[in-house]
């Protein structure tokens, strides 16, 4: 058994970088140095992660044919009761180690990329300090040994996301977006927290290993007690999933994600494409035994929410013109697929294919989506616009970006041999064997994905020849190197044998390509590309005509089905106007009014009774005599 306790440094180092750069960054170092410090720090962490991954997967992780859950470090951080305590620690198992690799890789790429992208921006060191904070939180999240630690880091990634979206804090739209992101996810986290509370009440533990032990007792707690027809465990898992829905931008909590694109593009790549948004998927995967064994209904919820979101987002993505927003919806759609895959899986054996597929797709998605965003960043960097209407024919100016972007597009479209072909294929297979409706949805999504991605691609790199104020030029090496590296990753990660590494019960899962599924999925991908080619390769009027033909459908999709407006209506009109303001009014006028009224009444009485003190001696005497008589009557006849 190798001692993994050094993994704690994976957490400590970025936190230290955050403090160093955040507190002293602008004083001690020049901007460039702090960037290098941040990147260097992350580089060390990346190396550590790779070493860990290697040692875990290939040296010691496996015992009796199954990967073990290894608690590398565990320190009690806060004690609630004898059994309930929050620990801070590092839990190594296949998914956390895989996530470790994903996060550090993408994060390192983004760090390097940012050195170029953010050059000269005010608050350079602040940016890197926030990035370190994010890395810290995200790593903490995936390495969490218990659900409460996960919740803590869950909140922390939320806040680092908030800080990074609002990085350009003088830009009102960025401020709005960051606020929105935080509050929406916070609302979802409320569900998460409630879920944790219910779960811990029933199982009396936070610890993942105890909780998710498929043969343990914790997993069986609360499965019998019913509320509205569902068991308590189901409810708690639905609540927990609510947190995942928020963080992973699933319907109906997806509204923050497109707006979050206000943040700097590397941030979008890192947080809102590759890592943080898949936390929801990771959460479900982490709790998967419970979902699968004790709360299958909740797992169905996961599947349907995922499937619906993926379709919903894909449709919207087809109509958007802001390239980052298209990518954002694409992210949402892909994550929906992962969720769906998790939802159709069950614990162990062949039925666990969905779980593996989901994790596989998570992995590949991180690579190609980061690539897409970074590529988009390079484009925006060159064109100074987010809108594809301002672009066209950029392949001549940005050759490296063009190639890497194309690779990414092919990957996401599921064209072999690119990585997503394999992972998406597994997802479709899993869905096919479990639920035909979901399979249909995902199949359609695959086609739509290919369509909108190539719509994007053709619009940017081909299409009309736009005249630019400044001739766009290729990005510096700090930006292109990550692009190339990620492109390579997109190309080859598909060949990683995930079925041997990451499975629902940590045992090897025999699976291969099912041609029954693979061929149609490639075909629909090609179909999507073809349609996009026809419509957007050259400037044509087809899109406009289509838009007018499906006028209402297009309008609804373009306006994102008015979900934003619905939220606005609920928050501004209902909550603010019909709850908060009335509460404030009630407080001022009724509650406070009562207190003031007591004072006023006292004053009024005081004024009214002043007549007794008339200054007339005889009236005084009259009161005196009356008082005596009243007392006499009272005590002799009434109350003796």
């Amino acid at each position: 058994m190798i001692n993994f306790s050094y993994t704690i440094w994976i957490l400590i180092l970025p936190f230290f970088m955050f403090l160093l750069l955040g507190l002293a960054g602008h004083k001690l170092f020049k901007a460039k140095l702090s960037g290098l410090l941040g990147t260097g720090g992350l580089g060390i962490i990346t190396i550590l992660s790779y070493i860990t991954a290697y040692r875990y997967f290939f040296v010691t992780g496996k015992i009796e044919g199954a990967f073990q859950k290894i608690t590398a470090v565990n320190i009690t951080w806060l004690q609630f009761t004898d059994k309930l305590h929050i620990d801070m620690g590092v839990l190594l198992d296949p998914i956390s180690v895989m996530m470790l690799v994903v996060i550090t890789t993408v994060s390192l790429m983004v760090h390097i990329y940012s050195l170029g992208y953010m050059k000269g921006e005010k608050g350079f060191e602040r940016f890197f300090s926030f990035l370190s904070l994010f890395s810290f939180s995200m790593l903490g999240l995936v390495l969490a040994t218990n659900i409460f630690q996960m919740y803590i880091f869950w909140e922390l990634v939320g806040v680092s996301s908030f800080l990074l979206i609002g990085f350009y804090y003088q830009k009102p739209s960025a401020v709005r977006a960051s606020k929105k992101a935080f509050i929406v996810t916070r609302f979802a986290d409320l569900g998460f927290l409630i879920g944790i509370l219910i779960l811990s009440f029933n199982t009396k533990t936070f610890d993942f290993i105890t909780l998710t032990n498929p043969t343990g007792t914790a997993i069986l707690q609360g499965t019998g007690i019913g509320f509205l027809g569902l068991s308590i465990m189901t409810w708690s898992m639905i609540f927990v999933f609510m947190g995942g829905v928020g963080k992973s931008a699933m319907f109906p909590f997806h509204i923050w994600l497109p707006d979050a694109m206000e943040g700097p593009t590397p941030v979008s790549a890192l947080i809102h494409a590759a890592t943080m948004v898949v936390a929801g998927v990771y959460l479900v995967a982490r709790m998967f035994p419970i979902y699968a064994i004790s709360a299958p209904v909740a797992l169905h919820v996961v599947a349907y929410v995922g499937a619906f979101s993926s379709l919903f987002a894909a449709i919207i993505a087809c109509t958007q013109t802001d390239i980052k927003r298209v990518l954002a919806y694409s992210t949402m759609s892909q994550i929906g697929m992962m969720m769906c895959a998790l939802g159709v899986a069950s614990y162990g054996g062949e039925e666990g294919l969905g779980y593996m597929a989901s994790m596989f797709h998570l992995f590949t998605h991180a690579m190609f989506k980061a690539l897409l965003f970074l590529g988009a960043g390079a484009i925006i960097h060159a064109v100074h616009s987010n809108y594809m209407t301002d672009m066209g024919g950029l392949r001549k100016y940005l050759p490296i970006t063009h190639i890497t972007f194309l690779i990414a597009c092919l990957t996401i479209a599921g064209i072999p041999p690119f990585s997503a072909f394999f992972s998406k294929d597994e997802i479709l297979t899993a869905a096919f064997h479990s639920n035909k409706i979901l399979f249909g949805v995902e199949y359609a999504v695959a086609g739509l994905t290919a369509f909108y991605m190539f719509r994007l691609y053709f619009n940017i790199f081909w299409g009309k020849d736009t005249q630019y104020h400044h001739t766009p030029h290729e990005a510096p090496a700090t930006m292109t190197i990550p692009l190339i590296l990620l492109a390579i990753a997109s190309l080859f990660t598909g060949f990683i044998p995930f079925n041997k590494l990451v499975t629902s019960d940590s045992k090897v899962l025999e699976s291969g390509l099912e041609m029954m599924i693979a061929i149609p999925s490639v075909l629909i991908g090609l179909l999507g590309i073809g349609i996009a080619y026809v419509m957007y390769r050259k400037e044509t009027s087809i899109p406009d005509r289509l838009a007018t033909t499906f006028k209402y459908g297009y309008k609804w999709a373009y306006n994102k089905f008015y979900i934003d407006e619905l939220y606005l209506f609920v928050t501004k009109k209902i909550i603010f106007r019909y709850i908060a303001q009335p509460v404030a009014w009630f407080d001022r006028h009724i509650v406070d009014g009562t207190m003031n009224a007591i004072a006023t009444v006292t004053q009024v009485i005081s004024f009214r009774i002043r007549g007794f003190q008339s200054g007339q001696l005889q009236k005084y005497a009259f009161v005196f005599i009356t008082g005596v008589i009243m007392l006499a009557i009272f005590f002799i006849y009434l109350w003796k």
């Binding site: 806060l78 003088q170 606020k179 509460v583 509650v591």
Partner: protein, 501 residues
């Protein structure tokens, strides 16, 4: 002279020293020195306490000193501390210390200001070290009265009205309290031979249930008024809004904690049966406080009002947790008191500093301050994040302990109410972010704000002290939680013994 009495003696000596100063410029130095000494004393106390506990001293209270005062009524001047009081004392000394620096620039009647401020602190310290109900009550009232002058003289806005309202309502609370305390006193001995005010002694007897049913609500409400229990919280927004910076800090940060501490130490500890029986009523009130305060804060425009309502919500949580009557929730309640004390003091300090620069407290008149005064703005953001319960800062630790604890309650009703209370964290996020977004972020709206100076050295001392404490609790809550937790054992054991759940 025992160490605990020093906590009362040092402020009194400081006041005396200030009284004899001729030069008003030295006043604040003397105050800062006195309160700095107090802070050191608090640190020393924490150290001594932990050492004593470590050495295996398992008495309920440590450093007990008992002087007979009024023999015929068996009134003692009795002091003693357990982990909870030690924590509260540490909190108080921190906030007072920060408060002195936050009011560095008070010009008008400076001497009187610092005297009143320290007098207020004296009352609070005295309250926390007392284990005799009489002295406790004495110090409680002593703490309330300087508020009137502090708000009335150095306040702003409708200060006279606010000061009067605050004083009268708090005294109203103490009226209820007094009756409750007398009731406890006359039931403190089964055969009425050895009546006592001593908390430890009373806790050993069982007050008859009929008496508890009368005196528990009185005592709890009495302290509840100070803890801003709905619907007796309305002194808080007005009072805070009108009070000068340091007073808001002390008041929200420390004085309101007297309510929670008292409710816990007196009402529930001494009358657990009635507490158990009647807690549902107050649970409803407190959960209304929690949610209602948060909603109230959303609609406000004045920074201090926002914070005042937020205090209503957070302090409601304290009482809420105390009423859950289990180890974890009570532990959370105490941490919440400390955490909220620090956070809200920080908030008020910052608001005061912002007000000193912009001369407005209305959020829609400000904007984009982050660019102009980054230090203060960042501190404000930190305070906000602490307030909305961000992990790593104290608010999270407190709230989570409360929620987890409250949710362990065996009755479904309490768990459902807990979920209601939990929902406040979202509302909190809404109003905090709303303020941060409007106030600090975005473009600078007013050209007068372009050249505002950032924090001065004394302001930095004040703010950094508090932030340091907030972060320390947030990052390493274990020692605090354990210190409080072990002190809770005897209390919980008493409750458990009497109410077999």
């Amino acid at each position: 002279m025992d160490i605990l009495s020093l906590f009362v003696v040092i402020p009194v000596l400081t006041i005396t020293a200030i009284l004899f100063l001729k030069d008003t410029r030295q006043v604040r130095l003397v105050s800062a020195f006195g309160m700095g000494l107090q802070l050191l004393m608090a640190a020393l106390l924490v150290f001594l306490y932990l050492t004593a506990r470590h050495a295996g001293n398992s008495d309920e209270m440590l450093f007990i000193r008992d002087y007979l005062w009024f023999k015929s009524l068996n009134i003692h001047y009795a002091v003693g501390v357990d982990g909870i009081s030690v924590a509260m004392i540490a909190l108080t000394s921190l906030v007072v210390f920060a408060g002195i620096f936050a009011s560095w620039e008070v010009e008008f009647l400076r001497k009187e200001f610092f005297i009143s401020l320290i007098l207020l602190a004296t009352g609070v310290f005295g309250f926390f070290i007392s284990i005799d109900l009489f002295t406790m009550f004495l110090f409680y009232e002593l703490a309330v009265i300087p508020m009137y002058l502090l708000i009335g003289i150095w306040g702003s806005g409708p200060k006279e009205y606010s000061a009067m309202k605050l004083t009268i309502m708090l005294m109203g609370g103490s009226a209820l309290l007094l009756v409750g305390l007398l009731g406890i006193y006359f039931n403190s001995s089964p055969d009425a031979t050895k009546l006592t005010f001593n908390i430890l002694e009373i806790s050993k007897v069982v007050i008859p249930l009929p008496a508890q049913r009368i005196f528990f609500p009185l005592t709890f409400l009495g302290f509840g008024v100070l803890g801003a229990l709905f619907p007796f919280h309305t002194w808080s927004p007005d009072g805070h809004a009108s009070a000068p910076t340091a007073v808001s800090m002390l008041h929200a940060g420390v004085l309101m904690k007297l309510g929670g501490y008292g409710a816990f130490r007196v009402a529930i500890f001494l009358m657990p049966e009635a507490a158990h029986e009647l807690s549902w009523i107050f649970i409803i009130l407190t959960s209304i406080s929690v949610v209602y305060g948060a909603f109230g804060a959303i609609a406000q425009k004045d920074l201090k009002y926002i914070n005042a309502y937020s205090s209503v919500s957070h302090c409601g949580l304290v009482l809420f947790a105390v009423l859950m009557m289990n180890q974890t929730a009570m532990n959370g309640a105490i941490i919440q008191m400390i955490s909220h004390g620090l956070m809200t003091a920080l908030f008020f300090a910052l608001i005061g500093m912002l007000y000193g620069r912009t001369h407005t407290r209305l959020i829609n008149e400000m904007g984009g301050l982050m660019k102009v005064i980054p230090f203060l703005s960042v501190c404000y953001v930190i305070a906000g994040l602490a307030s909305l319960g961000l992990p790593g800062l104290s608010g999270f630790v407190a709230e989570m302990t409360i929620f987890v604890g409250a949710f362990q309650h065996h009755e479904l009703f309490y768990r459902i109410v807990t979920i209601m209370a939990v929902s406040s964290i979202v509302i909190t996020a809404v109003y905090i972010l709303r303020v941060i977004a409007i106030l600090l972020l975005g473009p600078t709206t007013n050209e007068h704000f372009e050249h505002l100076p950032d924090a001065k050295w004394f302001e930095k001392i004040s703010v950094i002290t508090l932030i340091g404490a907030v972060a320390a609790i947030g990052l390493v809550p274990f020692w605090l939680s354990t210190m409080i937790g072990t002190s809770l054992h005897p209390i919980i054991n008493k409750i458990l013994a009497l109410n077999p759940f």
